[in-house]
Amino acid sequence: MGTGRAIKKMTLRIANAAGFWGDWPSAPRRLLETTEVDFLTLEYLAELTLSIMASQRKKSPAAGYATDFVTVTEDIVSLLQTQSQLKIVTNAGGLNPISCARDVGKVLAKCGLGNLPIGVVFGDDLLPQMDTLTKEGCEFLHFDRGEPLGTLREKVISANAYLGAEPIFRSLQKGARIVITGRVADASLTVGPAVHQFGWAWDDWNALAAASIAGHIIECGAQATGGYSTDWKSCQLANIGYPIAEIGSDGQFIITKPDGSGGQVTRHTVTEQLVYEIGDPAAYVTPDVIVDFTTVELAALAENRVAVRGSTGREAPESYKGSLAYADGFTASGQLLVFGKDCVVKAKVVAGLIEERLHQDGIELARMHTELLGAGDGLPGMRPPPDDLPEVMLRIAAYDPRREAVAAFARQFAPLITNGPAGLAGYAQGRPSVRPVYSYWPTTVPKELVFPEVQVLDADHWAKTPENN
């Protein structure tokens, strides 16, 4: 491999400091203050985040992206100034990457970084082209059930393809220091920078697989470093460090975290995240490569340093994964604390009262679900409730296609203060809110029908982009 110096040069340090929209706001700053990385990735989009953004964009055309990223930018802007090697790749753009780039551009411009190049990746948003895609023969078949989308088409609120690493790579090649995307595969946030650094061919399946695994391990933030661990007692979580992948020129990599931070990186914590939210481990599908997790081996090199070796992959699929969300009725949930030695019986009576009163008003809800939290109902049907509980939290959730029926359900909780049994508390949160349900429709879209595009411009330029763009 050559000298130690050469090895260092050929290693790319990629960190992740956000695993979802709402993750620890200070994690990016904490990480950058304690260690130097080449790339910071920030991942904000879960399966249904885009449908939430779609409803926000309906109310305000400038909304529809992960606003957390603007706050993070404000928090780390001085580090962007002092750490010239640092680049950021994020999917914070959501459904409105231009709006995101504009608001981030404004923050940078205000802090003297108006010439910082921001790349924006477009083309994942399929909603405007759904009719064209339908004409091209795309039926948006349900990924699991094989059914065509059919008349649900008119209820679709968001439709996105999971783009791959290529447009991120392209943005970096054009000089972007911050890359803002909409929906891309989570692992691709890491693969893009790696291909940019090492120049791998797009059919170098093993290298792409290795970088994809690195991305998969770090994409959920602290879940790779001791967070969400059933072995939570064995590490200090208050100042948990977020993960870093040190990727070599062949894609093989080491997982670590900032020195002095809490949490831990062991073979065990890395394995826990490797197997998180996967199906068949021999075929983990990304737009860049199909990854085989079963060939992977881990080796503990030192404290909080684990090597990941033996990654293998095969040819990428011919389709992008597509993610549609459609309006699908309304839901609400309410809670009451039920106190007293007969709390389990009483809670069931209270639940029955709500149902009976709705019935008297002629309202039958499509679905209701009652849980006695504290009695084991966090997982329904697993065990009977113990008979000696001092209290239980009664939680009732309802669903119905009609907003008004769910609103009627939400109105049933408060009256129980005066016309229900004694020993109920917890009204202070007010009436449960009625929320629209957006259901998830996973599908595939042929790659030749999707056109990822990139635009790289200075922060100043993005900051001046008109709001209705």
Partner: protein, 118 residues
């Protein structure tokens, strides 16, 4: 037949999550001997039985021997998935913790399976 039992949590950790309306529960043995034991005793059927209250249609098991792990995919186990489920645990986050209470027969070489230098 073994008389005594041991909780799965003595020999492994677990992590669960959602994939649409499916849940995945991965079990990670502390040590290689533990993995071999789980490969034999922690069958898809046993996990399906443990979680039968969730209404899963079927359970697939995938082995990752090099990582000392078994991955279970519980089909249709989440009451509709993140968007439609009325449960407090819409995403199956509790399943891993729950599964660690599963009782298994105590193997003869149990001391080789307990947490050590992993």
């Amino acid at each position: 037949m073994h008389e005594k039992t041991i909780a799965l949590g003595e020999v492994a950790t677990a992590r669960s999550g959602d994939k649409g309306n499916h849940a995945n529960v991965a079990v990670i043995a502390w040590r290689q001997a533990g993995y071999q034991f789980l490969e034999e005793f922690l069958t898809a059927e046993r996990v399906a039985e443990f979680f039968q209250g969730l209404g899963s249609s079927h359970v697939d098991r995938f082995a990752l021997p090099k990582l000392g792990s078994l991955n279970f995919l519980l089909h249709d186990a989440l009451g509709g998935g993140a968007s439609q489920s009325l449960r407090i645990d819409t995403q199956g986050k509790l399943l891993g913790t729950a599964l660690l209470d599963l009782q298994l027969p105590v193997p003869d070489n149990v001391t080789e399976m307990l947490r050590g230098n992993s």
